[in-house]
């Protein structure tokens, strides 16, 4: 008598007792089914919102980039003409160049300042003061950029501004902050960085808190002190946070509008005109919504390319524990 069971009669590994198995399978399937429905129900508002307010406008603006439309008359199809005109427009070219320069300088300052202050606050401050500084540095971010810019405009007025008055106390002559290309660019960057570094600061605070103390202790035993510890321990272990902070800072800086629009209206000349400003001007001042969409499409492609490059580079420079 063979003890082996013929293959046909061998019970399947996943087989379950007859009746309860059927019930169980049915019950699990029903559960999965109802869970799927529940998931869709919970996701529906987000999907609907994203579809209505993000996806449809994105598709519509891409389509609009191939039309000439002034809001009032019916749109007319113009093929790639809008893209051709946009590329040839010197103001658009300068504004894109300004935006890139702005991103490089503003993001570097924003991240550098945020990181330095985060290390200082995290390491040198007592706990109660840490809480204060976290709030204080984050506070400008919750203010309206337009209101801040109006306020700053008064501060940096050449004749009657507080900044020049303070400078005059130490014998420095009035600086034409908002009426020279260099001065206005400096003020726009300064105001933007002041208002936005708080977010990067909070990210870095979180990142610093997640670095194990043992790592620093091990580095100390190995003889690392002061800035060497930060260079060889803090920065590598903070690199995932730095990646996130830089991606967000770059995307935000590429879309800068409020500060230059309120502070300088993009001037003098085109010195502080940014890509989003020319989108606004094309659409709402020149009533060329097709061209505005074409500029928007180009800006989106640039943002996507830069972000993709950042993630690609991150494979080499970001260290995950």
């Amino acid at each position: 008598m063979s003890t082996t069971i013929p293959p046909r009669e061998r019970p399947r590994q996943d087989a379950r007792p007859d009746k309860p198995a059927a019930r169980g399978r049915k019950g699990a399937s029903g559960n999965r089914h109802s869970q799927r429905w529940l998931a869709w129900v919970f996701l529906a508002p987000t999907i609907l919102g994203m579809g209505l307010f993000t996806l449809i406008p994105i598709v519509a603006s891409v389509v609009l980039a191939f039309f000439r439309w002034d809001i009032i008359s019916a749109p007319s199809f113009v093929g790639f003409n809008n893209f051709a005109e946009v590329v040839q427009d010197p103001t658009v070219r300068v504004s894109f160049l300004n935006t890139i320069v702005f991103v490089v300088v503003a993001v570097a300052l924003q991240l550098g300042l945020a990181l330095a202050l985060a290390i200082m606050v995290q390491e040198k401050m007592p706990a109660w003061l840490r809480v204060f500084f976290r709030s204080a540095f984050f506070f400008p971010l919750i203010l309206s950029a337009a209101s801040v810019s109006i306020f700053m405009r008064y501060l940096f007025n050449e004749q009657f501004g507080v900044v020049n008055w303070l400078l005059s106390l130490v014998g420095i002559p009035a600086v034409p902050w908002l009426t020279t290309p260099g001065g206005s660019a400096a003020v726009v960057i300064l105001v933007y960085v002041w208002q936005n570094f708080g977010f990067s600061f909070l990210l870095f605070i979180g990142g610093l808190a997640s670095i194990p103390v043992e790592t620093y202790e091990a580095a100390s035993i190995d003889g690392a002190t002061g800035w060497r510890k930060h260079l060889h321990v803090t920065l590598p272990l903070l690199s995932p946070t730095t990646l996130v902070a830089s991606v967000m800072a770059i995307i935000s800086a590429l879309q800068v509008f409020d500060q230059p629009y309120v502070l300088t209206r993009g001037g003098p000349g085109d010195s502080t005109r940014t890509a989003v400003m020319v989108i606004f001007e094309s659409a709402f001042q020149r009533l060329e919504f097709g061209q505005a969409s074409a500029i928007g499409v180009l800006l989106t492609l640039i943002i996507m390319a830069i972000t993709a490059a950042q993630f690609r580079l991150s494979k080499r420079f970001v260290f995950y524990q």
């Binding site: 008359s73 427009d89 009426t179 300088t264 209206r265 001037g267 000349g269 020149r286 009533l287």
Partner: protein, 473 residues
């Protein structure tokens, strides 16, 4: 077999029935729900005559007395004033355009010179037929309003608005600063060189914390008054034919009748004109010598406060400034006003505003009744109770309006039109917003560097204006 069928039937019955019920409820709700549009916003969907003005809710409330007076005359017409807050006229027009795009345009819009041709070209309905129809009623209005103001609202031979208020760029001066510098009131025909000498005298008297000439970088009151005085502009100004029906009908005996046309046209840039260079060079000299400020783009918000605190010697502005200075605490004899300095001419720049009837107005007759009523003396006295602007009616620009507020020479305001009948409106073609941007963005550079930078800025302005004007309507 039967069991299987029964089971399937049971399954279909339970799931499909519930599903069908749910789908049915949703479908019925969707089908029975009226399409959501901008008109569903409370207050928008009724048949009121909707009137859009630039301002705050307080400005809308200030018109209530005029609305009440209108309602007593026309109880069948319900009026709703919608105040739209905006930084400037350009911003206001943008918001009106978005209302048009949203399918909820107002019936009547208060439009300034800056947007007159944009509205005439694309959005507004001409008033010609109504003015002809009610010519007897309108005769009194036109007899009280200078034709220069009316001509600003002529476009290709048709009239699109009736001027309600206006302001010319006259020159305000601080009497204390003038006295301190040993200066008398300037003569009516003072020149741009006299003006510069006065600034130099004020600078000598007050070397610091004081600006002899403060000016803004805007379409009104910026560089344009100097261009007009030098008999030029940054756009080539031409006139349309037509409009004789209006001029012959209402202004036949006016001394300036021969100057009138079917409306202004600005079709080409003119920033490379020699006199444009000359005018900018003059301003550049003022900045270089510390007599005038380098103007910020769109500046001017702090101007009233600075002038009222005696930190500014002179600035170009219109009658609209009087109320602001009074509210800022400036005594009526603390300032005065004079014509803009003469150069090759003494042509002034002005801006005016009035109601435009939209093409899409639901009830155009009702819209016209509001426009006609608003132009009446009764309505204008209710709308303009103080010198926060200059009323278009000559008879309303009187001693009573300026009593206790100044300036001593308030007659300068309306005399500007009488003394200089070629005085013209802000150059504002239908592409005004783009044109204004092209001008503003190059002014600061033009007046704050060397001669080479000025030339480059004007070349850039010419190029930007070409782009702005490339699509003629």
């Amino acid at each position: 077999m039967t069991g299987a069928i029964n089971g399937q039937l049971r399954q279909i019955t339970r799931r499909a029935a519930l599903g069908a019920l749910g789908a049915g409820i949703i479908g019925a709700s969707v089908a029975s729900w009226p399409r959501l549009s901008g008109t569903d916003i409370p207050g928008r969907g009724d048949n009121s005559l909707s009137i859009a003005i630039l301002g705050t809710a307080a400005d809308a409330a200030a018109r209530q007395r005029a609305i009440d007076a209108f309602s007593s005359l026309h109880p069948d017409i319900k009026v709703k004033v919608q105040a739209i807050q905006a930084v400037d006229w350009k911003d206001f027009f943008t918001k009106i355009l978005t209302m048009v795009a949203a399918g909820t345009p107002p019936d009547v819009v208060y439009v300034a010179t800056e947007g007159a041709q944009l509205f005439a070209e694309k959005l507004a309905h001409p008033l010609d037929e109504y003015i002809r129809r009610d010519a007897a009623d309108m005769r009194e209005f036109f007899s009280d309003v200078h034709p220069s103001l009316v001509e600003a609202f002529m476009y290709k031979g048709s009239l699109y608005q009736l001027p309600m208020d206006w302001n010319a760029a006259n020159m305000y001066y601080n009497t204390a600063a003038f006295a301190e510098a040993g200066l008398d009131r300037p003569a009516d025909d003072w020149t741009h060189l006299d003006f510069r000498n006065n600034l130099a005298a004020m600078r000598k008297a007050r070397p610091s914390d004081f600006t002899p000439y403060y000016w803004t970088n805007r379409l009104f009151g910026g560089v344009v008054p100097w261009l007009y005085a030098n008999d030029t502009s940054f756009l080539k100004e031409t006139r349309s034919t037509g409009g004789d029906w209006l001029w012959d009908g209402f202004y036949a005996s006016d001394p300036s009748r021969s100057l009138r046309s079917g409306g202004y046209q600005w079709l080409e840039p003119n920033a490379n004109d020699d006199r444009v260079f000359e005018s900018f060079d003059y301003l550049r000299g003022l900045v270089k010598d510390g007599l005038g400020v380098r103007p910020e783009e769109g500046g001017g918000n702090s101007l009233v406060g600075l002038f009222a605190s005696n930190r500014i010697g002179t600035t170009p502005a219109g009658g609209y400034w009087v109320q602001g200075l009074h509210e800022a605490g400036m005594a009526e004899d603390g300032f005065d006003v004079q014509f803009f300095p003469r150069w090759k001419t003494q042509r002034h720049q002005f801006g005016t505003a009035g109601y435009a009837m939209m093409k899409t107005a639901k009830d155009k007759d009702a819209a016209w009744e509001w426009i006609k009523f608003s132009s009446s003396r009764q309505a204008m006295e209710l709308i303009f109770p103080n010198p926060a602007t200059t009323p278009a009616r000559r008879s309303m620009v009187n001693e009573k309006l300026y009593a206790g507020k100044g300036p001593a020479h308030w007659k300068v305001f309306y005399d500007t039109l009488d003394r200089f009948p070629t005085t013209g409106p802000i150059p504002a073609p239908p592409q005004q917003a783009a044109v204004e941007t092209a001008l503003m963005k190059n002014v600061s550079l033009a007046v704050s560097g060397d001669e080479q930078q000025l030339k480059q800025a004007l070349a850039s302005m010419q190029r930007d204006l070409e782009i702005a004007l490339r699509r003629q309507p």
